[in-house]
């Protein structure tokens, strides 16, 4: 028997051997590089920084978290980032769901391929280029404000920009502009999981609901939405956590106020305060975990 034959036989007769050969490299990668570094990060958030030497002290301490939550500026950053992530997620659901619904239920064959492509196309170009392009689009002399002026609606844009908190000198220097860019950039991550979830809903369930006397609105609330929530949850984990962790968009578009991602960047880079940076990056992890718990409590994953 040749060596190849013997090897094939050995793998065929011992499926676990093949499985472990296939799985060990990715498991090592996931375990050490991914989870290991995440664990290390968590660990650092419980160390402290010696103010005199600037060195990290490897003893358990809550001083990083104390520092995070005792400074109103830091709490502001957490609140600001979380609110932005929340609003962006809601907008992505609001815009993404109808698109996904259309693609999943009303297209097939080439038309569906076309629409998939339209959703995915923005992901083919560099994220940085898109963000800087949006800065130009939203700038005071940019195409958006030109468009408003051309329609004679310049006053409307000025009115919107004069609203406190969300407004600013121009769209590219306002939270509204930042919100638009975030929503644009993360939208495909919301649409794709919703399409996947909708495609798994058998058409006969919708017909059965209608057959049993449910009007279209009722069918949507009682049948389609509950079955698609896992997809919406998956999409919103993307949009939510991507917004929470992003440090480029808040730097390029919007007001000067910091976001969590920027804070992590600054603290572990310029300021060299690794424990505080770690404490900041633990915040999104906790928020996402809480979010998932709430979703589960609401029964979002019952249909899985």
């Amino acid at each position: 028997m040749t060596l190849r034959r013997r090897l094939s036989d050995a793998l065929y007769l011992r499926p676990w051997l093949l499985l472990s050969l296939l799985l060990i490299p990715p498991l090592l990668w996931l375990g050490i590089i991914y989870l290991g570094s995440l664990f290390n990060l968590m660990l650092y958030s419980f160390y402290s920084l010696n103010d005199f030497t600037g060195q990290v002290e490897y003893r358990f301490s809550l001083s990083a978290f104390r520092q995070l939550f005792s400074s109103p500026a830091n709490v502001d950053i957490v609140v600001r980032t979380t609110l932005m992530a929340l609003v962006v997620t809601l907008a992505c659901i609001g815009i993404g769901f109808p698109i996904a619904y259309y693609i999943a239920f009303y297209t097939k064959g080439n038309a569906r391929t076309f629409w998939y492509l339209m959703v995915l196309l923005p992901l083919w170009s560099s994220y940085l280029i898109k963000v800087y392009a949006w800065r130009l689009i939203l700038a005071g002399e940019g195409v958006v404000s030109w468009f408003f002026n051309a329609l004679g609606l310049g006053w409307l844009l000025q009115g919107i920009l004069s609203v406190p908190v969300i407004g600013g000198p121009s769209l590219s220097n306002s939270y509204l502009g930042m919100f638009l860019v975030f929503t644009y950039v993360w939208l495909p991550y919301m649409i794709l999981p919703i399409i996947a979830a909708l495609e798994r809903v058998p058409r006969s369930l919708i017909q059965a609901s209608s057959d049993l006397g449910a009007r279209p609105g009722q069918t949507f609330r009682k049948i389609i939405w509950p079955l698609v929530i896992p997809g919406v949850a998956a999409g919103s984990i993307f949009t939510f956590s991507l917004t929470l962790g992003d440090y480029i968009i808040p730097q390029v578009v919007g007001q000067p106020g910091f976001f969590i991602g920027q804070m992590v960047y600054v603290q572990q880079g310029t300021a060299g305060n690794l424990p505080l940076a770690a404490a900041f990056s633990v915040v999104p992890v906790v928020i996402i975990a809480v979010y998932l718990l709430i979703m589960r409590r609401l029964g979002a994953f019952n249909a899985l």
């Binding site: 006969s204 369930l205 209608s210 057959d211 249909a303």
Partner: protein, 343 residues
């Protein structure tokens, strides 16, 4: 509250379902092509045909899931051609059961009440009643995923019946069940239909199922009805070759071969007697015995007669027959059924 049913009353003024020249085209495909029929209240009506014959589309037209391209659909005297499914007093048992996976059995059954705003306690009470009717009392808390195929079928039935519809549509409801269970469910379905007095429209490709359960059967072929009759008429007097071959099995013979006027005749295999030897005469033909299939209750013989291959069935195995030798087939004159040309 359970009404006893009288035999379907042909004299009753109002038909449950009337289709007038109904057609349904999907692009260039004529799924249903000018179908007219009338279904009486309390009737067990079957639509029988091979796949793609238009029977399911016809059912879906009555349920409101497809819109007719032309023609009129009247349900209990009301023109329903353009009514959406939720506005029709019709419920459906779907082929895949279509149970809602995120609800337990009780909520599935009570769904029709829930969307009408019936309060929860009454909903649950009536759902429990329905579950009892289909012999699933105590299963209310289970999920559809935890049930067997037969149990899911019963839940789908209970769910469709909870509103006491006047018309129940069943789309190959037993197709996914194994033979034994299917036979049990046939008996139960028929009993349930008698007990409730609801009009059943039953779509199937299984001719045995259609014959054993139905008051009347419409045989579909290529979007049209080939014949609409009682099971007995359908089997005894098939009008077209398609019906003769699809309902039961049949030998279809040219009149010339039989020494009769032109046209074609159907002859049921069990109407043929077979004996050794070669003999020609009126109402008999001789040929070569090709094969004998022992089927337990019956024995089937394949016989080559000239260009034709004929099948005969006897209830006990004939003695003295040898494969390859000459045999004589004979029948009574009255067993030949003249066929008209297909529509």
């Amino acid at each position: 509250m359970v009404q006893m049913l009288k035999e379907p009353n042909t004299a009753s003024a109002q038909a449950a379902v009337v289709l007038r020249e109904v057609s349904c085209y999907f692009g260039s495909v004529k799924a249903v092509d000018g179908v007219s029929l009338e279904i009486l209240p309390g009737e067990f009506f079957s639509m029988l045909g091979p796949s793609g014959s238009g029977k399911t589309t016809c059912l879906r037209l009555i349920g409101g899931f497809e819109q007719p391209t032309s023609g009129q659909i009247v349900l209990f005297g009301q023109d329903a051609s353009r009514l959406p499914p939720y506005a029709r007093d019709v419920n459906t048992v779907f082929q895949d059961y279509a149970l809602f996976p995120h609800m337990n059995v009780r909520d599935n059954v009570a769904y029709a009440l829930m969307v009408r705003g019936v309060p929860r306690p009454e909903r649950h009470r009536r759902a429990e009643e329905m579950l009892e009717l289909v012999k699933l009392a105590g299963f209310g808390d289970r999920r559809p995923g935890q049930l067997s195929g037969g149990q899911r079928q019963r839940v789908a039935l209970a769910r469709a019946l909870i509103n006491r519809p006047r018309l129940l549509l069943l789309d190959e409801p037993l197709g996914a069940l194994d033979l034994k269970l299917r036979e049990e469910m046939q008996i139960e379905l028929k009993a349930l239909q008698r007990q409730l007095g609801i009009t059943f429209i039953y779509v199937t490709h299984d001719q045995g199922e259609a014959l054993s359960m139905s008051d009347r059967v419409a045989v579909f072929n290529q979007g049209r009805i080939e014949q609409l009759d009682t099971p007995k008429q359908l089997y005894e007097y098939p009008q077209t070759e398609f019906v003769a071959r699809f309902v039961g099995s049949a030998n279809v013979l040219e009149g010339r071969l039989l020494g009769l006027e032109g046209g074609r005749y159907a002859l049921r295999p069990e109407r043929i007697a077979i004996r050794p030897g070669s003999q020609n005469g009126p109402n008999c033909l001789s040929g070569i015995l090709l094969d004998i299939h022992y089927l337990g209750a019956q024995t089937r013989y394949e016989v080559q007669v000239g260009e034709e291959r004929l099948t005969a069935v006897t209830s006990s195995e004939e003695q003295g027959l040898q494969i390859g030798s000459a045999v004589t087939l004979s029948w009574e004159r009255g067993s030949l059924r003249p066929l008209r040309e297909a529509v």
